[in-house]
Amino acid sequence: MLFQLFFALFYLIYLIALSKKKLRGKIHFTELLFRLGFWTLALVVVVYPDITVHLAQWMGIQRGVDLIVYVGIAVLFYHAFNQRLKHIRSSITITELTRQMAIMEYRLTHSGKK
């Protein structure tokens, strides 16, 4: 029961912080909905853990906590994979910039020397 209380308190504080961010225009509406949806779902699961048990059994998994772990791992893998792709795209951009700078530097340094 204590954990549920702590989590509910955390949820309230987060909600206030999120509202302030939205009021200051620091996040978009879709971002607000996503964050709100995620943490509300987390609160529901913490307060009513039996929900995950029913869902897990419906999906053919024995325990609710197993379902959360499986989903968590899948989300983390997906995130890591996407981050890697983003990193590759950023690298391509940095390389192109470096290339253009190298050629431009050469042209500037050697202009009029030919």
Partner: protein
Amino acid sequence: MTQETNIQPDPDLSGVYVVMPAFNEGAMIAQVIEDTLNIVEHIIVVDDGSNDDTFAQASKTKALVLRHCVNRGQGAALQTGVEFALEEGATEIVTLDSDGQHPAELIPEAVQILREQGLDILIGSRFLKPQAVPFTRKIILKLAILFTNFTAGIRLTDTHNGFRILSRAAAEKLKIQQDRMSHASEILEWIAQAKLKYQEIPTEIKYTEYSMSKGQSNWGSVRILLDLFFSRFDN
């Protein structure tokens, strides 16, 4: 290391540009450039953000020296050199490693083969004629050959040889996106996809203590495979 001679570059090679990517090659780069200048008039060195005096050493020679302000990898430096060579009006572009392991003296013959046979690209192979290749290097290379022949869909005897000659038309289509060592496999896949006319030429690799110390580690081979795997999804 070859002795410096007074041989003049072949006039038929006036449109040929050699591209040498260089990273921390200060100890050898000037000598390698001088040796190559005996064969070809135009050399482009791309100093890939070296921590040593590579840029200063290369700048003492007649080579055209470009500098990446940060290290981006051999593939990135090669693409920079190729783009610059095209801007300079190259008719053919030769890529060589800057540690002196590739035989620059082979360039005239290779360019002649490329022109006479109307090839898009000529690729060096150390396995076309018998030569001593260090054992672990041989195993890694053979595995790379199996993998690349399978994934790229072309048949070659050496898939990671930095000695290449590209026609201008082929070089204009080249767009290396694998910045690091996996560019070699990327180039082969590009050859297959673009249906380029290619051929291999026997090249002897000079395995000196210096070039071996600069070579890839076994971990580098694993990294190449990872880079190639992720590149499949980056479209």
